[in-house]
Symmetry: C2
């Protein structure tokens, strides 16, 4: 229908290993309208973002899970300790390097030495490839960088050899007065790639060095409902600017405090909220002529790592969980107990890839206020309403062939660079929510 | 000798239209040492630059002509009104866009509308392609941009159709109180891509809008000898940091005031300076075992545009110029009279491209403090000591396949990404000289 073949100078799609998923449906519904509104208002949007970032500095780095359902595009999760940098298109390495330089500069001048603290699960080689890329990017940005291990015992430095050929040295970090150090390496900045699901590490309390993200932003303190509360406000401000219904970019949600799945406590709250959300969603579906069955996603309010998540098309599905499923919903990463949940409008993924029509979900990465790329999680065996970031999930990462920085107004709204620009805008809105969340801590 | 084949994830050389020139000589002399020293000190260098840019903000944009002679790498010209953005690798468009956002932000907040003022020679389609790229980059960076023509009469807007398919609209600019405007378009920032060789345009005097570069930096006010004076200081500070002889990155120079080629005035000054420079260069050649004949380049001290430039191996060659050559040396762009000259140590270009060993000279581009890429000027018929940026020169631009942002320490110093990093460092040193020149105005 549209000619979205790239113009020669953009050289899109030249990399045969990074094809871009296409929507399964012909885009004539409101989605195209949303994208069109975003493209038509690019200068206004960029000006608005410039103002927002002056008021609220962006987090050091983030990744945003996004779902594109033909009728709406929404963020579904915002990660302040992003892994997966190894899935990005290495063509945009320079953008990452430049963004790191800028993000560090905004934290403080006179920063030359950076300590990167990863998660402890160092046997996850896939995760360690991410650490290797982060290490390399920070190093190439012109900083002296070390990888520090959060260990409680007196371990020796360890070396990890990765499939990519990289060798990572991990040094146990030591407290020295009001600083953390590795031997004679005293960093001015500590970058956390550890979401502190297990709680705030004692060794990092009250240090005089810069630390980013703040210890207050670990999943032991953060609530998804607070994040999406900020997002709702932002989506509404933004939508007013460009004249769209904010529902088209904002998933409805409700939250329940004090839930105990094992003891079936809090069921009344769950029931009424799930019912209310399904009714509200159906009303919007009717308004936009969406012929799909509304569903909700129930998630632990503080952190998931893809755990403690379930989908339901009715309150009964949740209330009638069997023991195994209730056990699964009761715990999240590192065995943390789930006591609060957020119930979110389920957003169908109607983006698929390949002849097998595998479900594809975009993940967008940012460093500071800059979008630096993204990738698609592609999975053959999952349905369009399932969670692609679930334990044991075998997804195939497909790096974006564009770094979402700018649209190409000469092309149709669903052309790759324009789709990616829209994703970049949605990601920045979610990132802004994370930024507002951060300053209030 | 070295294996500088790219690692898979960097995908260098994938673009068959952008091969990278190789040095003709095997790099075992001091050049390799310079590059090695630069690579070994990357963190120190980046930290040093961070400090410099905090003290002295970088110009909005610049391009630096560089010469690589096996024994030294030097900047030979720094342009504050760079053309040729159309010669850069479009793969690095995102880096340009991000750098423009940053550079504009550093000029002032609340800038949404930008007026770009190009040179008046709008019939040079090659130059206009550059304007089209600048327009597109500023627009993609999220600004409302117009192209304003510096015309003295009441012209109508004109449209220029370019070979690339772009259509440019040029609007005559009008003074409105202390602002310049185009109809109801009142820009907050004016970006000059016009080097004002003909003098400061009246219409831009005492405006309240931001204007960059400053009117004081046009070639009617700037002196190359001032620029290279700053560069000498910077090269010496930098060389001390990383432990190299600053001559390896700094061309010797001397200047003569009040020259009149037509009347043969100022010959004594020319003679003594040329002699002194050739002797000093020979001394350095002896020290480094360089087996080439020293030469000097004589240029108009204020602006050239490739005009008013000559090479000489002895003072006599200059003193015995015939009438035609003296006429040629007496005038520069827009017929401006040459009254002052700078005499610079000639740096041989020992970088060649292709089986025909065509001479290749790197040109590096920066936006703000960021290197955003570059290209090689390649010319089959020129010798290694000739000026590739001369009138009527038919050069073939070869875009760099790397944006010079970071080295790859795992590769040999002469690997592409490392050579480009070195060029990026030299370009930044020259840019810093331009920055210091700018704050003093």
């Amino acid at each position: 229908m549209y000619n979205d073949r790239p113009k020669k100078r953009y050289k899109h799609m030249k990399n045969a290993t990074s094809p871009v998923p296409h929507l399964t449906t012909v885009l004539t519904g409101p989605l195209l309208q949303v994208e069109k509104q975003i493209l038509d208002n690019q200068t206004k949007i960029e000006s608005w973002f410039r103002k927002q970032w002056r008021q609220t500095p962006a987090p050091f780095y983030t990744s945003m899970d996004i779902r594109n359902s033909r009728y709406k595009i929404s963020p579904v999760d915002t990660n302040l300790f992003p892994a997966g940098f190894n899935n990005l298109n290495s063509d945009f390495e320079a953008i990452c390097i430049q963004s790191i330089q800028l993000a560090v500069e905004q934290i403080g001048s006179n920063i030359d030495r950076i300590l990167l603290i990863p998660e402890n699960h160092t046997r996850n080689m896939y995760y360690m490839e991410n650490v290797a890329i982060l290490y390399s990017l920070i190093n190439k940005a012109g900083f002296d960088v070390r990888i520090g291990a959060l260990v409680t015992d007196d371990s020796d430095p360890s070396t990890i050899s990765l499939d990519s050929g990289a060798e990572l040295q991990l040094f146990p970090i030591v407290r020295d007065g009001d600083c953390v150090v590795i031997d004679d390496f005293k960093p001015e900045l500590i970058v956390l790639n550890n979401d502190m699901s297990g709680g705030r590490p004692d060794i990092l309390e009250n240090i005089s060095q810069f630390i980013t993200p703040s210890l207050n932003l670990g999943w032991s303190s953060r609530l998804k409902s607070v994040h999406f509360g900020h997002y709702k406000t932002i989506a509404s401000e933004f939508s007013e600017q460009i004249g769209i219904d904010s529902w088209l970019i904002d998933p409805l949600f409700r939250n329940c405090g004090e839930i105990n799945f094992m003891k079936r406590e809090g069921n009344t709250c769950l029931q009424s909220n799930v019912d209310a959300l399904l009714i509200a969603t159906q009303k919007k579906y009717d308004e936009y002529g969406v012929d799909q069955k509304p569903y909700v996603v129930v998630k632990a309010d503080s952190g998931t790592y893809g755990m403690g998540v379930m989908m339901a098309h009715s309150a009964e599905e949740i209330l009638e969980l069997n023991r195994k499923d209730r056990t699964r919903m009761s715990k999240t990463k590192e065995g943390k107990k789930v006591t609060k949940v957020i119930i979110q409008e389920g957003v169908y993924t109607n983006e698929t890839w390949g002849v097998d029509k595998m479900v594809a979900e975009p993940v967008v990465y940012m460093i500071g206020k800059n979008v630096v790329g993204g990738f698609y999680r592609v999975h053959a065996k999952k349905g369009s309403n399932e969670n692609l970031n679930s334990p044991g999930m075998q997804f195939e990462p497909l790096a974006f062939d564009d770094c979402c920085v700018s649209p190409d107004i000469e092309k149709s709204p669903d052309a790759h660079s324009n789709r990616f620009y829209t994703y970049g805008v949605i990601a920045r809105l979610a990132n802004l929510a994370a930024a507002r969340e951060s300053v209030r801590r």
